[in-house]
């Protein structure tokens, strides 16, 4: 076995272990460890990705001494490696972009705890990405949930604690349903490994046995993950959690945590149930409808919002609706579009959160729009970055948002029954997005009267500006040269089957 095949295992264990190590380190060292680990994991994922692209085959890695149905396994394919790499990039940039705000938001003595949480979150995301075992997935979903909750409430204002409680309650409901679905699935198939379950499910379907429990189990798992990833009716916790936590937390939560669950759902769809079997159930229609509703209601709530960070948070609800709409189309193209949207949304949303903090900082810390007037002149980099993010969200060509919308539309055109509904809702949602994002952009570029707040220059915030630059580049790169990424996603999804 090639040495590179060890990399997924190394990255999971490295980030887990670094979490433990950080608990005895002072804050500064913990920060360094955190950065190094993220970079190391990112490099390993990149190498792994290149290796996988060159071999063109996924591989299975034993976690222990025992092969498939007996021991744990992880599995790496193009999509997994790509996701891991992307998650690392976003996480590094989010951490770097929010680093200067951390001392003001978190008590000094708790900084190293913050880095522990981030490390463990990374490890759980990696495990969710790579795992080939349903129960392992459940355990790491829990780590993900708890560390995300920690990230929400580490900035201890009343709102975040309340948001954390709501988040936990919703998440636990989701976990419960997921676990129950998992147990039923285990009862029907006798396996916990994804590939074995898939074989058994195919046999069961072919034999026509246990149809009802099978569908119920799939539905329970889906609903559980939908609740955890804040699909429309279950999003009540989201605005407070994203709106009031620390900057890096908000960026990470919105762009990575929910995406981890969604990626797990994709894995379940492809590797556990089988894409065709999943599409023959009515579940996709439910996902489709809730996705569409999320797209509209999320945007409507965002328009009403008077607080820039809550507005961005609500926009997340809409964007998650897009992803589920892609699932709901039930075609390969829809799935590709959804996966691409995961990337594009992660890149854009974290950019917006990080840029928004730059704007609020030069407006006396207020997030009200009225105070943000002209903020883009006081902090030019944040202004440009926010504009770029908004344009991407609105779907202007050359930015990543346009490509994902294009992919969704292309996917929609292929599905007879759902074409009109999805295109019309896509249109309405785009226009609504435009309303609230462009409103904000114009607001921050409006100069009016004497401003009581002073601006900042490049010298005051080099690291921050560079982070933003990288974010913008990432966004434009996804928007301009999307074809390799789309090819990679297609290849990865093909490897799943």
């Amino acid at each position: 076995m090639n040495f590179i095949c060890n990399f997924p295992f190394f990255s999971i264990l490295l980030s887990l272990f670094s979490g433990t190590v950080c608990s005895v380190l002072p804050a500064k060292a913990a920060k360094a460890v955190n950065r190094v680990v993220i970079i190391a994991v990112g490099l390993m994922s990149a190498v792994l990705l290149l290796y996988l692209l060159s071999t063109g085959e996924s591989f299975i890695y034993w976690m222990g001494h025992f092969p498939a149905p007996w021991g744990n396994e992880i599995r790496a394919g193009v999509l997994e490696a790509g996701m891991a790499l992307f998650f690392c990039i976003i996480m590094y940039l989010s951490m770097a972009g929010g680093a200067h705000k951390l001392p003001g938001e978190v008590v000094e003595s708790k900084h190293n705890l913050y880095y522990i949480l981030v490390n463990l979150l990374l490890s759980s995301l990696l495990a969710l990405v790579y795992t080939n075992d349903m129960f392992t997935a459940y355990v790491f979903v829990e780590i993900n949930t708890i560390s995300a909750c920690g990230l929400i409430m580490i900035r201890q204002v009343g709102r975040t604690i309340e948001a954390a409680v709501r988040y936990m309650i919703m998440s636990l409901l989701g976990s419960g349903l997921l676990l129950f679905g998992l147990c039923i699935m285990y009862d029907l198939t006798g396996h916990l490994l994804m590939s074995n379950i898939k074989e058994s499910v195919a046999q069961l379907i072919a034999a026509g046995e246990y149809q009802i429990p099978l569908i119920v189990s799939v539905a329970l798992m889906c609903i559980g993950l939908c609740i955890k990833s804040a699909l429309f009716p279950f999003h009540a916790w989201l605005p407070d959690a994203y709106g009031y936590s620390t900057v890096s937390s908000a960026a990470i939560l919105s762009s990575l945590v929910s995406k981890g669950y969604i990626f797990l759902l994709i894995k379940i769809i492809y590797r556990v149930i089988g894409f065709d079997i999943f599409n023959s159930t009515r579940i996709i229609d439910v996902l489709f409808v809730f996705g569409l509703m999320g797209m509209i209601f999320g945007s409507l709530s965002a328009i009403k919002e008077n607080d820039i960070r809550r507005m961005i948070a609500f926009s997340s609800v809409a964007q998650i609706g897009y992803i589920y709409m892609g699932f709901g189309m039930g075609t390969q193209a829809g799935m590709v579009a959804s996966v691409f949207h995961i990337l594009s949304h992660a890149a854009t949303k974290s950019l917006l959160f990080i840029a928004a903090i730059g704007l609020t900082d030069v407006s006396g810390g207020s997030r009200k729009f009225i105070d943000l007037t002209g903020a883009a002149y006081r902090n030019k980099w944040a202004g440009v970055a926010f504009t770029a993010g908004s344009l991407s969200m609105v779907g202007i060509p050359l930015f990543s948002g346009f490509i994902s919308k294009l992919l969704f539309a292309q996917a929609a055109v292929q599905v007879e029954g759902k074409m009109l509904a999805s295109l019309i809702v896509l249109g309405i949602s785009t226009v609504l997005n435009a309303i609230y994002f462009m409103k904000t952009v114009i607001r921050i570029y409006t100069t009016a009267g004497e401003s009581p707040y002073s601006g900042v220059t490049f010298r005051d915030m080099k690291a921050y500006a560079v982070t933003l630059l990288f974010f913008i580049l990432l966004n434009v790169a996804l928007g301009v040269s999307s074809q390799p990424v789309v090819n990679m996603i297609e290849q990865g999804l093909a490897m799943f089957a």
């Binding site: 708890i146 909750c149 936990m168 419960g176």
Partner: protein
């Protein structure tokens, strides 16, 4: 209705318990009761799993006298899963309880609705 409802009475009970826990988690306004509901929900799932491992007339999977035949023992997998699950649920419970204390020191109530009312009233 399928054929096995009465044979699977253990699972049926666990389903009922699951839903009781679920309802508690959704409906109770008191946080501590919500947490109890959560625990009941988790226990119900573990009961379900344990029932799945059970085989009538066999004993626990601890090798006695070197007998290692499948006919002697029940299925060990669900027990292992439940063990893992119990740890997860106790961790979550501890976390939720500490959140409760924190909320209570700040808002002096255990009622989540009241807390959000208070938050809205403060005007963000």
């Amino acid at each position: 209705m399928g054929p096995n409802l009465f044979t699977n009475y253990g699972e049926a009970v666990s389903a009922v318990l699951f839903c009781i826990g679920f309802t508690n988690l959704l409906l109770q306004t008191n946080l501590i009761k919500k947490i109890i509901g959560l625990n009941i929900m988790d226990s119900a799932i573990y009961l379900f799993l344990a029932e799945k491992g059970y085989i009538a007339g066999r004993v626990a999977p601890i090798v006695v006298n070197g007998v290692t035949s499948t006919e002697a023992y029940i299925n060990p997998i669900p027990s292992g899963l439940v063990l893992t699950g119990i740890v997860v649920s106790v961790s979550v419970t501890a976390l939720m309880l500490s959140l409760t204390i924190r909320l209570y020191t700040r808002y002096h109530t255990l009622n989540l609705d009241e807390i959000s009312m208070q938050l809205k009233k403060e005007g963000k």
